[in-house]
């Protein structure tokens, strides 16, 4: 019988039932006004109903940035059908969220925000999440052709707008900004740039000084070595172009890497990449990183992303967990 009630009626009844101390006669009159007769929900049912409403709120506002629709509020278990929330509204929002995380500042220019466009296509075409970073295709010319295969493309890292945005100003054309941005976007590396060293030299010799070389030459992620497997910048402004690297193999990430594709493949096929991706997913859904008590939820995300390659499924794995609506 409850299923035949409109949601509005149900919510009115629910509100009435929750009125502590409301006169039974008043309740009865209101019910007659509604023209229906239903059993008064027990206190436990009412508490559960409110919990469901809070859950629907959390899900919809986190995933779509909107208040929940009536259909979801009417669900006995909003988490059971959470897939439906991961629609095009979500795709646009998630793409903007991740895009914002991948840049150092905001830009209104579409050509400087190609991660956004690629994420939209990955979701709409059900492509693997890693395609955002290493997909061998470029953005297509129209809706009918959303992607165009390209042997030379390496995700958005080879999009002209992105390359220009992070070309940097290194004197010899090494793209240090791009190198850092690649590491930050894929595995979440966080470095703090120093504007100068003690000698005031910012060239490759200056960057070998002790206060600089920790990030530029030594360790697992030496920026100068990463930049040496990327194309180099020549010229500036409208005459800027990029030429192939000439420095040969570099010792990076605990292995020897020669090309940008090798670099990106190594990064994307790592636990660090999956971990950073699930951190993004967690922050999107919860507004913060996972906590120690949420390790099992995070593990579910990692396992799903590893098995399916789908960021949508990874997000669903988090949103479906009981902890999410607790």
């Amino acid at each position: 019988m409850l299923k035949r009630l409109s949601l509005t009626h149900w919510r009115q009844i629910k509100t009435l039932a929750l009125m502590r101390g409301a006169a039974p006669m008043a309740r009865g009159l209101r019910w007659l006004t509604l023209g229906v007769l239903v059993a008064l929900p027990s206190a436990a049912q009412t508490a559960a109903d409110l919990a469901r409403e809070r859950c629907a709120n959390r899900l919809t506002r986190s995933i779509q940035g909107q208040r929940p629709k009536a259909a979801l509020l009417a669900e006995a278990d909003p988490q059971a059908n959470v897939e439906g929330l991961f629609d095009r509204v979500f795709v646009e929002r998630f793409a903007a969220f991740v895009n914002g995380k991948f840049h150092d500042r905001y830009s209104n220019r579409p050509e400087e925000n190609t991660p956004h466009a690629r994420i939209v296509r990955v979701f709409n075409l059900d492509l693997p999440w890693k395609d955002v970073f290493i997909g061998q295709w470029v953005i297509g010319p129209n809706v009918a052709t959303p992607t165009v295969p390209s042997d030379t493309a390496i995700g958005y890292f080879t999009d002209a707008g992105w390359m220009r945005r992070y070309a940097g100003n290194e004197e010899a054309g090494y793209r240090l900004s791009s190198a850092y941005r690649i590491l930050q976007n894929t595995i979440g590396l966080k470095l703090t740039a120093a504007t100068n060293n003690a000698s005031g030299e910012n060239d490759s010799v200056g960057r070998e000084r002790p206060e600089c070389r920790g990030c530029h030459w030594d360790g697992t992620f030496p920026l100068d070595k990463v930049a040496r497997v990327l194309s180099r910048k020549q010229g500036s402004g409208s005459s800027m172009k990029f030429v192939p690297p000439t420095d040969g193999p570099q010792a990076l990430l605990g292995k020897v890497i020669t090309t940008e594709r090798e670099l990106l493949e190594a990064l994307v096929h790592s636990d660090a990449f999956l971990f950073n991706s699930c951190r993004l997913a967690f922050e999107y859904l919860s507004g913060r990183e996972e906590t120690t008590c949420e390790a099992p939820v995070f593990d579910a995300c990692m396992d799903t992303l590893r098995r399916t390659g789908s960021m949508r499924q990874a997000l669903i794995a988090i949103a479906r967990r009981p902890e999410y609506c607790r």
Binding site: L18, N99, H116, A272, L274
Partner: protein, 245 residues
């Protein structure tokens, strides 16, 4: 680019602004925060009673530590480091309140059918106050005094309109309690009602008493019962439980 999520203290901040400024919020050890020191919320903590060690000054900790840590997996980074090592030691439900977007003001507007009387002014105002997100990023909504005041203002105006309407379908206008000034009894009843409506949960006894005390003492200066009730309703609508999810 957007600030990370934790908004600890938001609840306290919002409640402080909306309840506390006029002296009815019970502060540390049950003392009124300001105003008449004789106004002590019924059911408040006995100032003389010893509190638990390291208890929050607000009585209830806003975050809790993860006591029974689950055995999660370890993930190794390129440097051989454990990637999960930087996790905060908090329970699963800790620090979860996120501010709603400007949409929440729009929600209040819709709930009370603002459009018919106040038109688009409210929406534009709400957009400016809550800041709709730009095309290429979704920053976490940040709170501030203007946002809180706007939420209260729209809540108050909406409640007042609802209380004065003769349309039967509107939420609050027909209850017999609203025909006269709040009493402790009627305020307790309506506080619970507002809590369920706006907070999507039942208020606990302490919250009900604080709310009822506010209704009786702090709205007394309003000239008519509907304005008194609208003030209470607006405060409840602009409280943290409604502004966050």
């Amino acid at each position: 680019m957007s600030a990370p999520g934790p908004r600890r203290g938001l609840v306290a901040a919002v409640v402080l602004v909306l309840f506390g400024c006029d002296g009815v919020l019970v502060g540390p050890a049950g003392q009124p925060l300001s105003g008449d020191p004789s106004v002590v919320t019924p059911g408040a903590v006995d100032p003389a009673a010893p509190g638990p060690a390291e208890a929050s000054p607000w009585g209830t900790p806003s975050v809790g530590l993860c006591v029974d840590q689950p055995s999660g997996l370890t993930y190794v980074g390129f440097s051989g480091n454990a990637l999960e090592a930087d996790r905060e030691n908090l329970e699963a439900s800790a620090d979860r309140a996120r501010l709603k977007s400007y949409d929440s003001l729009d929600e209040i507007r819709n709930e009370f059918d603002y459009g018919a009387t106040l038109g688009t002014t409210i929406t534009n105002d709400a957009l400016a106050t809550f800041e709709a997100h730009p095309t290429y990023e979704v920053p976490e909504t940040q709170g501030g005094p203007l946002m809180i005041f706007s939420a209260f203002r729209y809540g108050y105006l909406g409640c007042l309109k609802a209380l004065r309407t003769t349309v039967p379908s509107t939420a609050f206008g027909r209850h017999v309690d609203f025909k006269s000034s709040p009493t402790l009894e009627s305020a307790r009843r309506q506080c619970q009602r507002f809590a369920v409506r706006y907070w999507k949960r039942e208020a606990d006894a302490e919250e009900v008493e604080a709310c009822a005390a506010f209704a009786v003492t702090e709205t007394a200066g309003e000239p008519t019962p509907d304005r008194q009730w609208a003030l209470l309703c607006g405060v409840m609508a602009a409280a943290a439980d409604n502004l966050t999810y």
